[in-house]
């Protein structure tokens, strides 16, 4: 298994404030990596640096073998990023929005049409594909955001709080979709979320970030053993997380 993401002492400062502090971690191919941490821990900032949208103050990273600072285009071609709040052109239809993204990715017209149809089907928006996005509900927008990632056939996707503001059924559907993407299409997923039971259900490995530092990475079992000894392996992610949180 190859490392899809690798960082070396990645650091980002805003003035005197250090948002990401000498971060070193790896994500392996095929992982569904749960990226945890309290508000302001630096998760979004890390994702931005991995995509080449923000320059690190120091340190380096490799994503799919490319350097985000020097080769951001190569990374963006193969990596889908769903920001915390997805935005769309409200006056365009769902299909037109996807079409624009397909053209920005320079997909050939035939491929684009096929991918758009498939993606809309996967997120269950085929019926409303020709509706203006301005009329979409929050959950529909979130699903459209996922569809937008899928049309470029990514190797790796970053999902920043993808279930924010969804109803329980919507959450389940999105999580199922994420799992099927990982299982059937071999897409590596990095998922940041505050909903720990969801993370526990979906993620194969976890990274916990506090105040700009990665305090632990591993499977849930590994984290539990490391923190509380072998007999506590049955602990929920929530209990483990709280221990790390109280320690920090």
């Amino acid at each position: 298994m190859a490392a899809v993401i690798e960082t070396q002492g990645l650091t980002r400062r805003y003035g005197r404030f250090t948002a990401v502090d000498v971060l070193t971690f790896q994500v392996q191919e095929g992982d569904v990596f749960g990226f945890l941490g309290p508000n302001g821990a630096g998760k979004t900032t890390t994702l931005l640096m991995l995509l080449g949208l923000t320059e690190p103050t120091s340190g380096s990273a490799r994503v799919l073998g490319f350097d985000p600072v020097r080769q951001p285009l190569e990374i963006k071609r193969q990596v889908g990023y769903l920001p915390e709040n997805v935005g769309f052109y409200d006056e365009l239809t769902a299909r037109e929005n996807l079409d624009y993204v397909a053209r920005l990715n320079q997909l050939p017209a035939g491929v684009a049409d096929r991918n758009i149809a498939t993606a809309l089907g996967q997120v269950g928006l085929t019926e409303v594909g020709n509706k203006r996005v301005g009329q979409f509900s929050r959950g529909m927008r979130q699903r459209l955001g996922l569809a937008e990632l899928l049309i470029k056939d990514p190797k790796l996707i970053f999902l920043d709080e993808p279930t924010l503001g969804l109803d329980p059924d919507g959450i389940n559907k999105i999580l199922d979709l994420i799992l099927s993407l990982s299982r059937d299409r071999g897409i590596t997923v990095v998922l940041s979320s505050h909903l720990l039971d969801q993370v526990q259900r979906t993620c194969s490995r976890i990274g916990i970030m506090m105040k700009g530092r990665m305090v632990a990475t591993g499977t849930i079992g590994e984290l539990a053993r490391r923190k509380s000894g072998p007999d506590e392996a049955g602990e929920t992610l929530e209990q483990i997380y709280m221990r790390y949180f109280q320690e920090a």
Partner: protein
Amino acid sequence: MWTIFRKELSDHFTSTRFLITFALILMVAAVTTYTAATNLRQALEGVAKPSHVFLLLFTTSGQLFSLAQFNAFFGPLIGIILGFDAINRERNDNTLSKLISQPIFRDAVINGKFLAGVTTIALMLSSMVLLITGLGLLSVGVVPGGDEAGRLAVYLFVSIAYVSFWMGLAILFSILFRSLATSALAAVALWIFFSFFIGFAASLVAGAIAPVDNPRDPRQVVANRNAEDAASLASPVVLYSQATSTILDPFRRTRQNLTMVGPMERFSMERFRNPLPLDQSILVVVPYLTLMIGLTVVCFGLSYVIFMRQEVRST
């Protein structure tokens, strides 16, 4: 970049506010041309061999103002309307972070928007000039000669540069300010300042650098006057008005006010009232045009540099 360019262009042409502005401009152009033409017809009665009649359509005032004045005054508004929300709307709608996480160079965003804006302006102004030409043909029956057509082309070009400058300024503000209202207001404030208060500001500046202690000393008065003229050139509105009046009015010999011209000079001007040839007129205009394009490039360059360094995160 062409993808963005095409989307922006179609956005412009389908947006209500563009259509309203466009309709308004064509309407004003039509009405002004019509009244100017009516006035012209009366004025030309009995004139044996009028020359450059066609250009008079632009410089004769109808009810209130001439078309050239109208463009100098409202051109900026078109630019501002096209540019003031270019970047900050996408930022507020969180589409900007989506846009730049696609495999495109970041500058493609700003280049595409700029180019789409300039194209829109060019189409708008060209169709306006065409409309006026048509109306002129119908109502006065004048056909623009080769010289006049050349002048019109130059006028069109200078106008496009002028409106593009204002669009560039508005785009710059849309990068600097997060709020749509702030960027629109900032641009409008500058527009009003440069249109109405520049004369006042220029005379203040002139008073400071070339004070007139003795109003009877002609040298002092002239120096003050020159300083004032130079200072008012800081306003793109003044730059544009001067450039276009030279191009549209071939009889204009000097950029100075008539008060500055001595009696002998005035006499000779009247005596040899021949039009300044087109190439000479262009020579007079070139410095203004260069300045205006320079200003636009400065706006674009600043926008470019600031935008490239800005961090974009969705909030």
